[in-house]
């Protein structure tokens, strides 16, 4: 699928990697709708930055855990752009707690945002894609779906579920919709991360460095453009999955 002039809906893209991916795709000529969660997120800045790429853009405040809110997001996108060519399920939370201390509400938050959100967004968007007999869905999972990390049982369960959802959707939405997942390693440290965190992340990668959000964006670009890719999980992790 050509990125230029396509319509791309990306969830959770006011900040961080989602924002980078949205801007990367806008620079390639895609029209972008992105969702954000909190008013306090710098969504207006991201919207302005996308608009400066001379593409159409919109932002929508969305509670990704709510079918009604996701339906509003999808409907608003279709109303403005007439269609959705690509859906990128990027919105995510990153919760940490030892297994014995995970509270029920934290378990629910991890599963609802990281797994139910992509399910809702895909289920509500897919009929529009099927009507046009074409579409691409990309789910952003991470290495915790494949590796054991202490303190992330709920997070890992949600991301592993997203991998299973990816394959199920690839099966059931074929042949018209291609569905793939991306598992990034460390590509953007938290703003307040101490230097030892960067060093730790560098050591974890066999390439001995952290990646960049652009590494993820380029993989998104590849998946959109490669018309024979479906049902796959692609790693962009500097080889971290190897060790």
């Amino acid at each position: 699928m050509d990125i230029k002039d396509s319509v791309i809906l990306i969830t959770g893209a006011a900040t961080r990697v989602g924002r980078h991916v949205a801007l990367f795709l806008a620079k390639k000529g895609a029209n972008i709708c992105f969702s954000y969660y909190l008013d306090s997120e710098p969504w207006q800045q991201t919207l302005r930055d996308i608009e400066q790429c001379n593409v159409a853009a919109m932002a929508h405040q969305t509670e990704i855990r709510s079918a009604a809110s996701v339906r509003e997001l999808v409907n608003a996108t279709v109303e403005k752009f007439g269609r959705i060519d690509v859906l990128i399920n990027n919105a995510s939370v990153w919760l940490r707690a030892p297994f014995l201390e995970i509270k029920e509400e934290d378990w629910d938050t991890a599963l609802d945002v990281n797994l139910k959100g992509p399910f809702l967004a895909s289920q509500i968007t897919a009929p529009y894609m099927l009507k046009r007999r074409g579409g691409v869905i990309i789910n952003i999972t991470d290495l915790s779906a494949f590796q054991v990390w202490a303190g992330y049982a709920h997070h890992a369960a949600s991301k592993a579920g997203l991998v299973a959802l990816t394959k199920s959707m690839a099966l059931e939405l074929s042949p018209h919709i291609r569905v793939n997942a991306i598992a990034p390693g460390t590509v953007l440290l938290p703003e307040n991360a101490p230097p030892e965190k960067k060093q730790w992340a560098e050591e974890k990668s066999v390439l001995k460095r952290v990646g960049t959000p652009e590494d993820v964006a380029r993989l998104v670009e590849f998946i959109i453009e490669c018309d024979f890719a479906t049902g796959a999980v692609y790693f962009v992790d500097g080889g971290r999955a190897l060790v």
Binding site: K167, A170, L171, S174, P175, R178, G185, V187, V206, L207, K208, R209, G211, T212, D215, R218, L219, F222, E225, C226, D227, F228, A229, T230, G231, A232, Y234, F235, V236, D237, G238, G239, A241, L242, V243
Partner: protein, 250 residues
């Protein structure tokens, strides 16, 4: 890694998908080395096509299953280009080895090309990459690395081993050299496929169609340029590995 002005060697690069990968690298500005075993005329023709993109191209004969030939190839390439930056292990044969196998030599022929060849090539070309501090190796596997194919034991074992070699090399040659695999699905019908078989094969993918060799060359260019991907396998199969589940429960 930027492709322009680099040197790329594609084993089995004279025809079929190897040729398309090689020409894509040439089009992107790489000087190319076309390895062939017996297809000299096709290799020369492919080299001419590559030169049309304004790059240098050389052909070199070597059976990658034989280390002495691979070492000779490396010497010839070194004299012309000083080494390679990009190595694509694409040479392969598609040989049935049904059990029980009367001629066990067939087993060795297949595994020598699928396993020994990529190992030999990495062994002779990686040192130069390490010296320069940069390099990319891509191994071409297929779905038989994960799923058994009736009558293709040697082939399947060979591709599974090549996948293991990919991960092993990614670990041991890091951080300077990135090593990945590509697993294509049906992208180019073999010459002996009739229309009925071509149609049946398309039905075996989720996308209900064949891909194209360009899908694979696209993945090659992507992997060469993607500096944070190593040890991974890019599957480009149209969902072939899930298609049999469409009408079954589990």
């Amino acid at each position: 890694m930027e492709i322009k002005d680099k040197v790329a060697l594609v084993t089995g690069g004279a025809h079929r998908v190897g040729r398309v990968m090689m020409l894509a690298l040439a089009k992107a500005g790489a000087n190319v080395v076309i390895n062939y075993r017996s297809s000299r005329e096709e290799a020369e023709r492919t080299a001419e096509e590559a030169r049309a993109y304004g790059v240098e191209a050389m052909t070199v004969q070597a059976d990658v299953a034989h280390y002495d030939q691979v070492k000779r190839m490396a010497e010839e390439v070194r004299q012309k280009f000083g080494g390679v930056d990009i190595l694509i292990n694409s040479a392969s044969i598609f040989q049935k080895t049904p059990f029980p196998l009367e001629d066990v030599e067939l087993w060795h022929q297949v595994t020598a090309i699928q396993i020994d060849g990529p190992f030999y090539c990495a062994n002779v070309f990686a040192p130069d990459m390490l010296k320069r501090g940069e390099g990319v190796i891509i191994n071409i596997v297929d779905l038989s690395a994960w799923e058994p194919w009736p009558n293709f034991a040697a082939h399947s074992v060979g591709k599974a081993a090549l996948l293991a070699l990919t991960r092993q090399l990614a670990l041991e040659l890091a951080p300077a050299v990135r090593v990945n695999a590509i697993a294509p699905g049906p992208v180019l019908p073999p010459p002996d496929y009739d229309d009925a078989k071509i149609a049946r094969t398309a039905k075996k993918t989720l996308l209900q169609r064949w891909g194209s060799p360009e899908d694979i060359s696209h993945a090659v260019l992507f992997l060469v340029e993607s500096n944070y991907i190593t040890g991974d396998t890019i599957i480009v199969d149209g969902g072939e590995r899930f298609a049999h589940r469409r009408t079954e429960e589990g």
